[in-house]
Symmetry: C2
Subunit: 324 residues, 2 copies
Amino acid sequence: MKSILVLLLLANTAIAAVDPLPSWNNTAPKKSIVAFVEKVTKPGSQNFVPLKERVATFDNDGTLWSEQPVYFQYYFAFDRIKALAPQHPEWKKKEPFASVLKGDLNGTLASGDKGLMEMFIATQAGMTTDEYEKAVAEWIAKARHPQTKRLYSEMVFQPMLELLAYLHANGFKTYIVSGGSTEFMRPWSEKVYGILPEQVIGSNIKTKFEIRNGKPVIAGLPNIEFVNDNVGKPVGIQNHIGRRPIASFGNSDGDLQMMQWTSAGKGSHLCLYVHHNDATREWAYDRTSNIGRLDKGLDKAPDNGWTVVSMKDDWKVVYPFDKK
Amino acid sequence: MKSILVLLLLANTAIAAVDPLPSWNNTAPKKSIVAFVEKVTKPGSQNFVPLKERVATFDNDGTLWSEQPVYFQYYFAFDRIKALAPQHPEWKKKEPFASVLKGDLNGTLASGDKGLMEMFIATQAGMTTDEYEKAVAEWIAKARHPQTKRLYSEMVFQPMLELLAYLHANGFKTYIVSGGSTEFMRPWSEKVYGILPEQVIGSNIKTKFEIRNGKPVIAGLPNIEFVNDNVGKPVGIQNHIGRRPIASFGNSDGDLQMMQWTSAGKGSHLCLYVHHNDATREWAYDRTSNIGRLDKGLDKAPDNGWTVVSMKDDWKVVYPFDKK
């Protein structure tokens, strides 16, 4: 009996010694994450948070995967436009479609937000949710990033995957809260991040239930319904979850209000910004970037006690394929 | 050792013999519920549904609790209007407010949907989500139904509470999918039904994130954002869950599209209408009622294989307080 006890104790020690965040250097961000998780999960502690209230929200683009030179969903839209072009001869002379068809990224972006919205609507409206899901699933399985030539789903951040797994193991319910569209993320969020479709909160176009060829469908309409970015993020969180997160993770000023909302909660909380400052392993950009601008957030982080992760200094590896 | 085995077997038999739906008569609806649950949860069966996909959606008004003589949320709005009236002298001459203040229910309803929307907006716009939650929680704890004099939260259907518990015990994730407002149901849905706030899908007004007196808040705006009824129900389900339910429960034509959406799924499914035909223990109404009209649904149920529950014949008790 004694030997069994000793074995159990040894096994216990061995489990405790496993590092849940092996791709994080042992610097301040990792320490603040571990301290937070231990604090809120310790029964009897004054910072203890019951299971149901352990809600953590994650931005997607730039926080869980890369977002340069443009958000990956843009590439999906570009590919859809190319596929649909034969049915739209007018696109050859109409921006941003003309630039997309010429493969001119700068020309495409020159149309600004309005042009991009037109693009998203053109590639989604009229399709049923089932058709759109199929198109995304097919694309994500084989489309490759123009620079790295990797699958987009490989360009996720290994340290953040470990963080998600660590939170899941500690009873957290994790949500994606992204400016990207909900229906674009759901087909792969569970496989790639372990985040269920019902825990994906994003932007969306209006949709309509109808009977099409005798079958009930939900079809996209040519209008934006909700932009889940900036001030939209706390609204999306309230609408879908109805609880305030106790932890939020982002990388841009689009995540600022989500962090303010999280920080204003009563108990313990953790807010963390991923700072893209690693031009060698990923990209380096912040205050002046058009994609994923992090400017106000950098100013506000110190006063609010928000953690800022230097990708260069705090992460041992960036992508899973970097691992030895 | 043998005696322990015998004990275990006996215990097992005893557990299996406990009726999970004691308030249901042993008629067709109960049989179809049990047959469905056993079929989709039996490992190896061709109808087996993995845990994650066991999604069941429940209408609230008339399905989980009563809805006569008007939806209970109306009474909350009436009480709010009475409380706010001193700040709105103009309401004395403006419908539907004037009728509400006089306690004239028919006069109030005469304003139609437009008047009711005005009423909801007037009692919610400007309030923060925290303030609204507090107001609902205080009201539900003490407000009483004008006819039964019971707390509204006591006027829930005992057989449906048992059904919820039975589904929970079998790994189902249950959602409320109601025309009522999300923020009205969340403060009590967990306590009363065991349904978490993040699993409540309802109608909602537009809201806005802002910093008010230095504190981040989400405040109601004077516009309806989404009506989660009729064709809105499948849209709300897709938006929030992103999976098709395998079981849906309703009581009115407002639930018809939710059932069509559920029925059109690939695998096994169960759709069930609660038919209010018990004037003695509750209310009797269907094809011509302004509240909870069940007309098309009654016509469509037989062809679609949807179960129709006769409250009178299929339920032993209606309310929990009816139990001996």
